[in-house]
């Protein structure tokens, strides 16, 4: 096969000029697209665990059953959901260049996340040592600890990332130019909160009926 003949621009000049390209050439940032893709794949992942939970509702062969041992984690839920508000405000503050306001809101977010983990830890302690429910007790224990635990792992990862940013902020290393990255982190955090709403409805509302 013959190689390409060099084609000169003079030749091209005899033809109609190609249509103009939109200037400036704008594409979505890779961070945004990447985070959307990550959230998509995580959603698929959680869907399977939620499906397993729903599938096994009422199928445990032995007690304890959810309605007898679970109570609504109201305070925990309020904390986690409000952390979504504080992280959104923090992100907006950084975008506007208000570093101090960002730092305060950011640390409040971290505190709320950590509170959630402590609350979950207390609930697990009660279930394991007072109720006697472990992952091997029955299908309820199996699905409960897996789903709530999987979510808690995500809260932990988010909290670690938030803590890292908090330390960098206190060290003065976070500036307005990081606003987009911080916003992406907040997207992840919103996602983790949204998952909690699903987990809450599945485990504590539907699952205890």
């Amino acid at each position: 096969m013959s190689n390409v003949k060099p084609i000169t621009m003079e030749a091209a000049a005899h033809t109609i000029a190609p249509p103009a390209i939109l200037h400036p050439w704008g594409l979505p940032s890779r961070g945004r697209v990447g985070m959307i893709a990550l959230i998509t794949t995580e959603t698929a992942f959680f869907t399977i665990f939620v499906t397993a939970y729903v599938f096994y509702i009422g199928k445990s062969l032995t007690p304890p059953y959810p309605r007898d041992v679970l109570s609504y984690p109201v305070f925990n839920t309020i904390c986690l959901l409000s952390s979504s508000i504080t992280i959104a405000l923090a992100s907006r503050a950084l975008n506007a260049g208000a570093i101090r306001r960002f730092a305060v809101l950011w640390i409040i977010t971290l505190a709320l996340g950590v509170e959630f983990l402590i609350g979950t830890g207390l609930e697990w302690h009660r279930l394991i040592y007072h109720v006697g429910l472990t992952i091997r007790t029955n299908l309820f224990g199996t699905t409960y600890y897996s789903l709530v635990g999987l979510h808690a792992v995500h809260v932990t990862i988010g909290s670690l990332a938030i803590a890292l940013v908090a330390m960098l902020t206190l060290a003065g290393a976070v500036t307005q130019e990081h606003a987009e990255r911080i916003e992406m982190l907040s997207w992840y955090w919103h996602f983790v909160d949204a998952v909690w709403i699903v987990v809450f409805l599945t485990v504590y509302v539907v699952g205890t009926r």
Partner: protein, 565 residues
């Protein structure tokens, strides 16, 4: 600003990479490849390791066929046979298909959209090494770990590892754990690649390349990556549940404690069926680049091709239970999955018709890549039709879990995917190495492999219809299985000879192949505008495009594509 394509698109950064790598001592070269974040190097490493595992898992397949050549053969024990079939299946999907295909996307997507790398180069390297160590772990099971009670370590539960055979009472020792953890690692690596490919296609395109001007291959990479994003997590999630069962005493698939064996099947096939499309869409992608170039015609119905691919992606998420027609679903459930499975045939058919439309009226150059592509068209047509046959649920009650199914999916995986992988290797090898593969050895490879493939897999359909289930380590004489099995095993010899021709061709061409130049096939997409092999950053100046075939526009200024798009 007069200039040739060279000046406008490419920079020869002081000699090819190959030359600069040659200057380094071995350790330096090794260090360079291990620490690289370059999409081309990582792509080649994926493809190279994938091909090595292709040979290993191929040897395992040859051993399987040797054992089944005659009834009551005693070449391997049942335990060894079950390990062979498990490792062969698992490796061919996760250690061969996935890496070779993601390797090609890794290599090609940035080049074809005029970018200098993937969106997240370090994530790309991370994904590769996760996959790499996962893949080593799977085969490490053969030599590592004694396992409890002498139960052996290589997994022997089949590639879909149905519960509760994988639960501790039936699978002692660590063999199943090797299967779980190695595939879990490989899947996470693939997910990272998928995120990367999507971000690259949406955020890294060169000026002028609107979404509707991306080459079909890049579109299919996006569909493929999207499918991976939603299809791989169900497998990972189910594997984590199985690990919790095995290590922490959970009961997800523990039927003694009320757990459901069917839940595993559902989760597995929610992954498993889209996975088939994850593997075959790249084959479509190669065909959509190779068939036009060798027919000398623009792809027929670009928009329809892209739409059909997206439709295949969506529909493939709703057909999984056609792998489970025999588990005792309700008639309504069966009817649903019959209908959805047959519907996938429509966009698939549309793709075949559009490739036909591309060839129609062209001047078809029967070079090796096109030979493989034409064989692919015929074989994929048959694979699609046997797929329709299997979607007919009552017929499937007879055919499922028999050699008919084995023949069907090898038609997809070899007749479709492997043939297109060979086409892609012959087509892009010159770009990646700067040297052509030998045409005559390539033809020899093609014909030997073609004959071997048909001897083996055409006849296996009949073994299934005769009543031969899959995954049996031997069979008794007198049931009509002897003849198809013997012919199928003889076919292996031809396939093996074909592979020898291929390996010889690659080795020979790497050192003494004909220099390829930039654009040996007179092609039209951006990767052919830069040197072969491309310089580290692909393009000196980022190109600007006006159509789907930027090089066509340059070669045919009197009649450019953008007038018609």
């Amino acid at each position: 600003m007069a200039g040739t394509i060279d000046d406008r698109f490419a920079l020869d950064a002081g000699g090819s990479e190959l030359a600069s790598a040659n200057a380094l001592p071995i350790a330096g070269k090794l260090h360079e490849w291990i620490t690289t974040v370059d999409h081309k190097k990582l792509g080649l490493m994926y493809i190279g390791w994938g091909l090595i595992f292709f040979l290993v898992a191929g040897l395992q397949a040859a051993t399987i066929r040797l054992q089944l050549a005659v009834p009551n053969a005693g070449i391997v024990s049942p335990q060894v046979f079950n390990r062979l079939l498990t490792l062969h299946g698992t490796a061919m999907v996760f250690l061969v298909g996935m890496p070779i295909l993601t390797g090609f996307f890794n290599y090609l997507v940035p080049l074809m959209i005029g970018a200098r790398d993937l969106a997240f180069p370090r994530l790309n390297a991370f994904g590769f090494w996760l996959w790499f160590f996962g893949s080593l772990l799977l085969y490490f099971s053969y030599i590592g770990g004694g396992g409890m009670e002498g139960a052996g370590s290589a997994p022997s539960v089949g590639w879909f590892a149905y519960a509760p055979l994988t639960e501790t009472p039936f699978s002692r020792g660590h063999s199943t754990d090797y299967w779980i953890i190695s595939i879990l690692l490989a899947s996470v690596g693939s997910t990272a690649t998928a995120v990367n490919l999507i971000a690259t296609a949406f955020s890294m395109r060169c000026p002028g390349m609107a979404l509707n001007k991306m080459p079909v291959l890049v579109w299919l990479a996006v569909v493929d990556a999207g499918l991976m994003l939603v299809a791989l997590p169900p497998l990972s999630a189910a594997q984590i549940m199985l690990l919790l069962d095995r290590y922490m005493g959970a009961h997800f698939f523990d039927t003694q404690a009320g757990g459901s064996a069917l839940l595993w099947q559902h989760f597995f096939w929610i992954f498993g069926h889209p996975e088939v499309y994850v593997l075959v869409i790249p084959a479509f992608a190669f065909a959509s680049e190779i068939i036009p170039v060798f027919s000398r015609k623009v792809i027929f119905g670009y928009e329809v091709m892209v739409a059909a691919s997206c439709a295949i992606g969506f529909l493939s998420l709703g057909v999984w239970a056609h792998h489970m027609f025999s588990v005792g679903m309700t008639p309504a459930g069966n009817a649903f999955f019959v209908t959805s499975s047959m519907l996938v045939g429509i966009p698939t058919g549309i793709k075949i018709f559009n490739w036909l439309g591309t060839m129609w009226g062209g001047r078809i150059r029967l070079r090796v890549p096109m030979l493989f592509a034409i064989a692919f068209l015929f074989q994929f047509l048959i694979a699609g039709l046997t797929g329709i046959i299997l979607a007919v649920a009552p017929f499937d009650w007879q055919l499922t879990d028999t050699y008919f199914v084995v023949a069907h999916f090898h038609y997809v995986l070899i007749g479709g995917i492997v043939f297109m992988i060979f086409a892609a290797i012959y087509y892009w090898f010159p770009k990646a190495t700067g040297r052509m593969l030998d045409e005559r050895l390539g033809q020899l490879h093609f014909w030997l492999f073609l004959i071997g493939f048909h001897l083996t897999f055409d006849t296996l359909h009949f073994a299934g219809l005769q009543g031969m289930p899959r995954r049996i380590y031997t069979y008794q004489p007198g049931r009509g299985f002897e003849l198809p099995n013997l012919i199928a095993s003889i076919g292996v010899i031809f396939q093996a000879l074909g592979m020898i021709a291929f390996v010889f061709d690659v080795i020979k061409s790497l050192t003494s192949g004909k220099p390829a130049g930039k654009d040996p096939w007179d092609a039209w997409t951006l990767e052919w505008s830069t040197s072969s092999p491309p310089p580290e950053y692909n393009f000196a100046d980022l190109p600007t495009v006006h159509s789907r075939r930027p090089l066509w526009d340059l070669k045919h200024p009197e009649d450019p594509d953008w007038k018609y798009e």
